[in-house]
Symmetry: none
Subunit: 400 residues, 2 copies
């Protein structure tokens, strides 16, 4: 459903909504037991919520497509990920809490190794340490370009973010990373004429970087890709008529929430900190997005028992959340991260929607397989928000 149409249907209300996203929630059966992480964990509170709510599965991009964290969360926020693409450079900038502004051009950078003839011998510079990355970024910050403000920010190991700020920039640039060894880095080419000045600036940056890094092998050159600008997304508070806050310890999720115009609340680095922030902020908002990271971390590490434990810790936190008495409480995730696959996967993700007007279905447990039989069916993630608003009695009738 088009967001412009949703917006026309929104009616004011005083109901409150809590969206809990357990990152990488969905799992996959352990071959030894035949049970997934959710099926293995003891989750009395989540199961009780599943019993009194409506359940289903969410698909964040399309069948078979493994979502990154960006598309995964945009879908949860009601934005169709294929319609509102967010480039790699922008996601990297968001991931370090960089204050990316409209018009900025961001790129993902890698330190790399080139040989004496300038050909790439290692696209990741032997994965230098983050400390070394910080030192070399300090060198790159010496680069100055006329009329363009440059920001170079270290990320982790060989990764950094480059942001160009100035009037009339364009991200319609080809990448400088040839994605192969034995070739020199490519010049950035303007993919449309309006991007020529930006291409020139990027190439000048790369040339200066080469000079400044000449003695820094293995990190003696840079590669740049994923040039993009902050997309102009319709604002979440405006579209859905909600005073909306985001509580997330990790920068990437704060950045995504900022991108759609939520208030991003200051919080600490643990979920306990997030819960404290939630309790304090709750009276002032209609909608809170609360992010839980531990499930994804364990999944990505291939740590099945760790993911089970992370789920059980989340479950134990539920009474504190329920105590706030949200009118609609939604628990789901941005993608699956099965420990068996050690990373994100395409499998659809359980969702439960509890509230006074949610029809309790036959689902008795909050698991992948139980939710497959739920009354919400298997739903594109971006269709969740209108459903949530409806359950909060915040959507009017379509047509007389």
């Amino acid at each position: 459903m088009d967001l412009d149409l949703v917006r026309t249907l929104v009616i004011p209300g005083s109901t409150k909504i809590l969206l809990l996203s357990a990152d990488g929630l969905g799992g996959f059966p352990d071959p030894a037991t035949g049970r997934s992480e959710l099926e293995t964990a003891r989750l009395p509170h989540l199961d009780a919520l599943a019993r009194r709510g409506s359940c289903g599965l969410l698909r964040h991009v399309a069948p078979g497509i493994t979502p990154g964290s960006g598309p995964g969360h945009l879908g949860l926020f009601g934005y169709e990920p294929l319609r509102y693409p967010v480039g790699r450079g922008v996601l990297e900038a968001l991931g370090i809490d960089f204050d990316l502004r409209a018009g900025d051009v961001a790129a993902r950078g890698n330190f790399c190794t080139v040989d004496a003839t300038g050909r790439i011998t290692d696209r990741r510079a032997g994965r230098i340490s983050t400390e070394r990355c910080i030192e070399l970024v300090a060198r790159l910050r010496r680069i100055e370009l006329p009329a363009i403000e440059l920001h170079v920010e270290p990320v982790k190991e060989h990764r950094f973010v480059l942001v160009l700020r100035g009037p009339g920039l364009s991200a319609r640039l080809s990448e400088t990373d040839p994605q192969t060894l034995g070739q020199p880095p490519l010049p950035a080419r303007a993919l449309d004429p309006a991007a020529q000045a930006t291409a020139d600036a990027v190439n000048r940056f790369a040339g200066e970087a080469r000079r400044l890094l000449a003695d820094a092998a293995p990190a003696n050159m840079v590669l740049l890709r994923g040039f993009d600008q902050r997309p102009a997304l319709p604002g979440f508070p405006e579209v859905f008529g909600l005073r909306a806050a985001a509580i997330a310890a990790y920068p990437m999720y704060r950045g995504l929430a900022r991108l759609v115009g939520m208030d991003v609340l200051r919080t600490g680095s643990t979920f306990t900190d997030e819960l404290r922030t939630l309790a304090e902020a709750w009276p002032g908002y209609d909608f809170v997005f609360l992010h839980y990271k531990d499930t994804d971390k364990a999944g990505e590490d291939g740590d099945f028992p760790g993911k089970v434990a992370a789920l059980e810790r989340l479950d134990a936190a539920l009474p504190a959340i329920e105590q706030l008495r949200p009118d609609v409480l939604v628990v789901t995730g941005d993608h699956a991260s099965p420990a068996v696959l050690r990373g994100h996967s395409w499998h659809p993700v359980p969702v439960l929607l509890a509230g006074r007007y949610a029809i309790p279905d036959a689902v008795e447990r909050f698991t992948e397989r139980a939710c497959a039989a739920g009354s919400l069916g298997t739903l594109p993630a971006h269709e969740l928000m209108p459903l949530v608003l409806a359950h909060a009695l915040r959507l009017g009738k379509y047509g007389a």
Copy 2:
């Protein structure tokens, strides 16, 4: 999901995929027993696969739309049938294994009967025998047109295919069949100016045909419809990154596979021949499409026990297929052909997807009703291929 986008997500792999299409697989309950063909048949191997795989239903075009074999299979191959239409003339040409080339214009022809004033009295010429059709096609082959190569090929009974080959042809032509009796055949009209020369050629062919068939009543004239050119479909091997082969005894399915760029393997006329071809070809391909025709034949004949027997023969062949150890094995069909309806129907078709990363769901039998509760849900057929690729670990993440 757009094929251009799927293409960007494909990653190389060494996994192998087998897609078994049982033509007209879906059925309908026998009013006497309340059980469909699949529910009546003993299918121990398919049921076992359903138990260990993920199940669902496929809809090939849209809810309520009965697919022809063309759209049915294009959907299975990953092409949204409404987005990639294939004209009648092209399907007829593919159906007789005609080597239709880019730029050729193909039409479906009917022999018909006209009276002394030229008005149509029978649009099918009393359904003349195929032998008679072959004789009359030999007469039509005498027709020569300047700068255009003509191919006239008999099909069955009153049907034939006309193909025009030459530079600058267009299929933007109106049909010569008025689809009613008591009127003369219509001239082909150019639907855009660039089609005028082709319209003239077609009308000259029809005029010559009338002269050559004057003494051949009841087949004393021709009607032409479904003018079309071979569509430029994105290539299946290129989009999905698969060395792909098709094994089908029937020409129509070979033609469809050729249309999307699969290698069409030589095989015999029986499923046993096809299985032998499969075993030989398997090492050389990443993806094999294997077609089983008997289910559809029995369904179209209204032969309920015959369709049950065809399903049981297919089931008996499964161990030989599983012995090849495909990483992903998909069993489904291109449309339903319930014996009760004696033809194709719009009912969605069971699908099972078995492989290491398929979550076994609660489905215990491979039937229409059991699969409706499966974890794949009811899926547009063209969304199956990305899902299959994902299960074969051949798709990367969308977005960072």
